[in-house]
């Protein structure tokens, strides 16, 4: 198929290639994104045998996000790479659907994530956070990811779901394998965890998805037998209601709640605390004025952009930023670029906990796929900063961060930190 590249659009890639996973092992290629933002219209970026329209400016990310009728989530895939039709069907979740399926699925879980209902978890989040921080302070130093950033969100989401907290280490392990599935370096054997499904049909091509499905199904059976006041019970009851939730939808929903509920917040907690350690004067401002906790959290979200991109596919010919787009073409929103857009953010490369106007796109650009867990993530980050401040905790880095080589998640595998005495 001919692409849109012939109509005068600028051609990428120049160096570095923003689709190359290994590039991200050294950091997000912000300079290259800045070049693309400065290029009029949209940039056509070759990818595989075809390519995609790179959407790198805040305004156009907003527009694409808010027009799901034109920019579909259900066609092709929501990542750069296409999935074959059978794989897409098997893996379809809340993320890869349009209305009316998306509306039905989202409503099943939405009520658990409204601000009002999320606030009810504040005590739980505070107690988990305090415990992890006290352990880290006692140890004096350690890997921040393993010690705090990973266990905190997984324990919180598992509590919401109704998963026994003793299983959190196992689910973190599965989650780590899923992240690895977005990189060029998967290490799990196809039959790991007793998997017999073609990995192609599993989320992130990972046998760990099989393990997570199995875990979710077993937990669902338990809750069916003995209902509890938790999210899994709510979901299995919806599944038993008939047409509200099919079995494959249940397992994909369970999968996405566990993965998205822990991996993204882990990333924000890690980048956020690294930024506070690297900019001690910014943390001092928060220590001196607690009213800066909430703006600091928004700045951490902008700064960390845990999900780097999402893709849409056009349902018909359209036009964006003066560029003609054919039907069936890939349109990729680079949130990490939108969050550094100089047209929207003053001094976007500065980490500023007092930033006043901060319409960041860490949760997406709006529209129906706006992050389901946004209020939960905010609560976790707010409580974390408050509890750190209460303890007068100052941290410094004692080594380099090891980044996930992925163009999809802005993950950090480990970063050594120490308590500043």
């Amino acid at each position: 198929m001919s692409t849109g590249a012939g109509n005068g659009a600028a051609l990428a890639p120049r160096s570095p290639d923003v689709t190359s996973s290994s590039v991200y092992a050294d950091g997000v290629p912000y300079d290259r994104f800045a070049e693309m933002r400065a290029t009029p219209g949209l940039v056509w970026h070759p990818y595989g045998e075809d390519g995609f329209w790179a959407v790198t400016r805040h305004e156009e990310i907003r527009l694409v996000s808010r027009q799901p009728e034109i920019y579909s989530s259900a066609v092709g895939h929501t990542n750069l790479w296409d999935l074959e039709a059978d794989a897409l069907e098997a893996r379809r979740s809340l993320i890869d659907t349009d209305a009316p399926d998306h509306t039905r699925l989202r409503r099943l879980v939405a009520r658990a994530f409204t601000p009002k209902n999320i606030r009810r978890w504040e005590h739980t989040v505070r107690s988990i956070t305090g415990q992890l921080l006290d352990e880290f302070i006692d140890a004096g130093e350690g890997d921040w990811v393993e010690s705090v950033a990973a266990p905190l969100p997984i324990r919180v989401i598992l509590t919401l779901l109704g998963v026994p907290v003793e299983d959190s280490a196992y689910l973190v392990e599965l989650s780590n394998h899923l992240v690895e599935g977005t990189t060029d370096r998967p290490t799990l054997a196809a039959d790991a965890y007793g998997n017999t499904t073609d990995p192609r049909l599993l989320p992130f091509n990972s046998p760990a998805s099989h393990a997570l499905f199995t875990y979710g199904e077993q937990l669902g059976d338990q809750r069916r037998a003995e209902p509890q006041d938790d999210l899994v019970t709510m979901l299995v009851q919806a599944a038993d209601d008939g047409d509200r939730l099919r079995p494959e939808e249940y397992r994909n929903l369970f999968h996405i709640l566990v993965f998205a509920g822990n991996e993204t917040t882990r990333t924000a907690i890690t980048h956020g605390v690294m930024a506070l350690a690297d900019h001690p004067e910014q943390w001092q401002r928060v220590l001196d004025d607690r009213s800066l906790v909430e703006p600091a959290v928004e700045e951490i979200l902008r700064w960390s952009t845990p999900v780097l991109h999402m893709r849409r596919t056009t349902t018909g010919p359209t036009e964006l930023a003066g560029t003609a787009i054919e039907g069936g073409q890939k349109v990729v929103m680079w949130y990490a670029s939108g969050n550094r857009d100089e047209a929207v953010f003053d001094d976007p490369t500065a980490f500023d906990v007092g930033r006043v106007d901060n319409p960041h796109q860490a949760f997406g650009g709006g529209g129906p796929h706006l992050c389901l867990g946004a209020f939960l993530a905010r609560l976790e980050l707010i409580v974390l900063l408050q509890e750190m401040a209460d303890r007068g905790l100052r941290l410094r880095r004692t080594g380099d961060a090891v980044r996930v080589p992925s163009n999809f998640v802005n993950g950090v595998l480990s970063v050594p930190m120490a308590v500043v005495a």
């Binding site: 808010r66 209305a99 509306t103 099943l108 009520r111 409204t114 009002k116 709006g366 796929h369």
Partner: protein
Amino acid sequence: MSDGAADEQVVMAVDDTRCIGGGQCELLAPDVFEVDDDTGIAAVTAPGLLDRVTALELLDRCPSGAISFAQPAP
């Protein structure tokens, strides 16, 4: 920036076929909107009056485009 219309009250409506229960309305105007715990759908609590400035921000924030002005307040 004020044009004198900031105090104007408008009546809000929710399209329950579009609403995804995003909760932005309940956060911004808890006296006017409530997401139902059973259906996951937002509803306007009578009489649904909201000042125009908040209403315009909400129209921008609602993720599913389910919120609209029902009619100007009497």
